[in-house]
């Protein structure tokens, strides 16, 4: 069985979703993102150092 595409045309709740999140959190989010990016950049940098010695 497959999802009937024509059925999806009628599937429009048309309501605003009230929920916590997004508003007023950007500073905290940026802090988290900054730390994660720094950790990933360290991983990439270490990999780069290793890759410089690789010859095919």
């Amino acid at each position: 069985m497959k999802i009937n595409k024509s059925l999806l045309v009628t599937m429009k709740p048309g309501v605003h979703i009230e929920a916590k999140g997004l508003i007023g959190h950007s500073a905290e989010m940026n802090k988290r993102i900054g730390k994660n990016i720094a950790a990933n950049e360290q991983k990439i940098e270490l990999g780069m150092r290793k890759a410089q010695r690789i010859q095919m």
Binding site: M1, K2, I3, N4, K5, L7, L8, V9, T10, M11, K12, P13, G14, V15, H16, I17, E18, A19, K20, G21, L22, I23, G24, H25, S26, M29, N30, R32, I33, G34, K35, N36, I37, A39, N40, E41, Q42, K43, I44, L46, G47, M48, K50, A51, Q52, R53, I54, Q55, M56
Partner: protein, 477 residues
Amino acid sequence: MKKDNRKKDFLGTVVIRPSYTHNETGHTYGRTLLNPYKMVTKEPNTNEKIHPFRYMITAQYRMHLLGKTFTTHAFVFSSQDGVAMKCAETAIYCLGDFESASSPLYARVLPSDIQEKLSHRISERILPSHGLYCNDISYILKEFGYSPMIYAGAEDYQRMLEDSFESSIDAEKNEVISHWDNIHETNFKNWFHYYVESAIPILAVTAVRPDAKKHATLVIGHGLKQKKITECKQFKLGDYPCIDTSQLYNTYIINDDNQIPYVEEAMDHFTIDKNYKLEAYIVPLEKHVFLEAAAAVTICDTFIENQKDRLKKAIEVFKNLCYSKLSEVSDKEKMEDLKYLIESISVSSENPLTVRYYLANSAEYKQFRIKNGIDIDEQIFYADVLMPKSVWVAEISTFRCYQEGYVIGEVVLDATASSRSKVDSVILLRISGNGVYRLPQETYTDLEKKLAEKEENIMLPSMFIMYSNFQYCKEKE
């Protein structure tokens, strides 16, 4: 071949090179262009046709034979010459050939072009080739107009980190970075999959041991075979279990110059010798794509984690709508369809949320969304969003919806933004029937304001069609 079917049945072309000795054929494939979509297998039980290379990158090539024009889709293959070109040069040559056929941004790269660029960089003689260092490959790709990135496995990362950054890391070791990120930790193999999903050919470097001889192959797609859900590592997004599609696939399509074209191999084993493992890879990104995979996924993850309550409510609203429609209809077929839809959107450990990350050309992505919009509201919504040249997209679906090519939410990031832009790189957020976007002159605060003041679009369909970077999937839609 019937005369009328010549164009339809045309597979491609193979240039045969002379062999070095009378009984050797290992180096004889010259420039080879074969259409992978013409290669079909059959499901043993149902006899259904299967296209094993549907998730493979191809470009369109035009050939002229006896005054007639033939076209084929292919990814160029060439076996290793061994003298003038080793694996690395062959991979660069094939990559350049493909990119020049698929984009007007790049010129075709000939072996002589590679050697000319190398002669400015390498102090030794160029011929016969001794192979190239990772940095040399990256340098050449940069010279040909790409913006390459090198990734390598750093298994000893933790130990080195402790040696070199001990003091700075210790202070932060126990601090929770993000609820989502702590459990959805990605590494260079996950990033590898995101680039494959973005239809970017990857130059993979494999070796038996870090200090042993290396081999370069081109990874040009992923296989069809999926792992079982129970084999995938599940994360938690709020109350919902969640998987990342990079966990789902373990086979990739490669062009290895020591094998035949289009070989499906398991992750790591991109050579004939199955003891080889992935050591590093080079991604030829387009210029101006500043946001690389690791940073883009981090931003998407943090944003999705922040939206978990809205996502949960949106799924509940969608389900309630299905139930109310179910109570209204009497047609048995429609009832079955609705029941199936409810099952498909019900999240459980067997049907977890499934997140797919990819980089896309925004013009193609927007065109797809407008062309395949379920209704006019959806088409207008996407037509109104202004996007930079490249975007990172995180598509959220349930596993069942993913299998059928439907999505219930997405986050779109500006791929030309710096990683320092963080949440300011978010362009669009869509969760089920609700969508909001930011215009170039607006900031993230404006996006927050739109949500706070209920200025988002609420008339979008609850579910929409999945985008694909792969040519076969694009043509199917």
